[in-house]
């Protein structure tokens, strides 16, 4: 009885506003943790998702339509292939020549744009990599890892195919084995 009394006294002395504040704070903290866990479990963006606009600054020596950066929103009406890579990434080397070859195949038509986003890399090594594989399509650093966070990439290489309406159509995790593999994904997206 006395214990009950003591408990009741204790409960009575905590003001209501303090209780609301404590429980509100705890729930808020739990919500933040839950949001973080959900994001961590989400995986990459999925086909069917509309990709929000982003800006890719280009390495010097690269340009797109005379500009030193590329805005995704300006590429509506074209099929966009965005490849995440890094100079320290060995599997990226396996597909570098295939990507460049596919880009050269579509370059003249103007319907397809290839973009290279250099992930968590150092510029001298990145430039060396680009020279080594003679990569000519627009390439730039993923500054602050903003673009890779937008796509929620899990590693490199990863390649995303966005249709003319800005909707993601295909995600390639890991390197391509051949140019044909790349073209087999792009060609249906070009069909009227």
């Amino acid at each position: 009885m006395e214990t009950m009394q003591a408990e009741q006294t204790s409960k009575r002395t905590i003001p209501l506003w303090a209780q609301v504040l404590i429980w509100g704070g705890l729930l808020g903290l739990l919500a933040v943790l839950a949001w973080g866990l959900v994001r961590a479990q989400q995986g990459t963006v999925q086909p069917g998702d509309t990709i929000p606009d982003f800006t890719l600054p280009l390495f010097s020596g690269y340009e797109y339509n005379g500009q030193s950066e590329v805005h995704l929103s300006e590429l509506r009406g074209k099929v966009v292939v965005i490849n995440f890579w890094a100079s320290w990434c060995k599997p990226c080397e396996q597909e570098a020549a295939e990507l460049e070859s596919a880009w050269r195949h579509y370059r003249e038509s103007g319907d397809v744009v290839f973009l290279g986003a250099d992930y968590v890399d150092t510029e001298p090594e990145a430039r060396q990599y680009l020279r080594r594989f003679d990569i000519t399509y627009p390439n730039g650093p993923d500054k602050g890892t903003k673009i890779s966070q937008l796509f929620r990439i899990k590693g490199v290489p990863e390649t995303y195919f966005i249709d003319r309406q800005g909707v993601l159509r295909y995600v390639q995790i890991g390197p391509f084995r051949s140019e044909d593999e790349i073209r087999a994904i792009i060609d249906p997206l070009l069909a009227p």
């Binding site: 009394q5 968590v120 602050g144 890892t145």
Partner: protein
């Protein structure tokens, strides 16, 4: 008689200009030597002092100074290069944040949502201490300040209970 021919005004001016140019060259050469002397290749310890404050996003939970991957090796070389160029520790860390995001920092920056990392733990500790204090106080209270039967603090429910209890005791007598 051989007499020393006096230098013309023009020749004197040319000589003076030549001396100034030579002095400038000597000064520049001395400055270049000084720069080389002041900026030797930064040691591994100097590089690691900054590297241990950074984490590469590729190798989560591994500080940059002990991370064995190629990406981290490149980052350490970048730190060495920046140190050799005379950058300060803060400038280098800022460069990494701008290029790779705030998550590369071992200590979250004191801004935006990152403040939670600094605010929540002390608040949680203080709240825990407060709850513990109150719990201990509540446990000790019954012996020290238990209100007597029939005191005004008793609730009506307790009054009823006590009345019934006393009634039962009376009956037993």
């Amino acid at each position: 008689m051989i007499t020393k021919a006096p230098l013309s005004t023009l020749s004197r001016a040319a000589l003076f200009a030549l001396l100034i140019v030579a002095a400038a060259f000597v000064l520049l050469a001395w400055q270049a030597d000084t720069v080389h002397a002041q900026a030797p290749t930064p040691s591994d310890d100097e590089v690691n002092a900054i590297a241990r404050q950074l984490y590469c996003p590729v190798c989560e939970n591994t500080p940059l100074d002990v991370c064995p991957t190629e990406a981290c090796r490149q980052w350490r070389e970048l730190i060495r290069q920046k140190l050799a160029e005379g950058w300060t520790e803060e400038q280098i860390k800022q460069y990494f944040v701008e290029n790779y995001g705030a998550r590369v920092l071992a200590e979250p920056p004191r801004q935006g949502v990152f403040w939670l990392a600094y605010i929540v733990p002390p608040i949680a500790i203080l709240a825990g201490a407060f709850i513990l204090y109150r719990a201990l106080k509540a446990w000790n209270r019954p012996e020290a300040a238990a209100p007597g039967v029939g005191e005004s603090e008793a609730t009506p429910v307790q009054d009823e209970y006590m009345a019934r209890l006393e009634e039962e005791l009376r009956k037993r007598e």
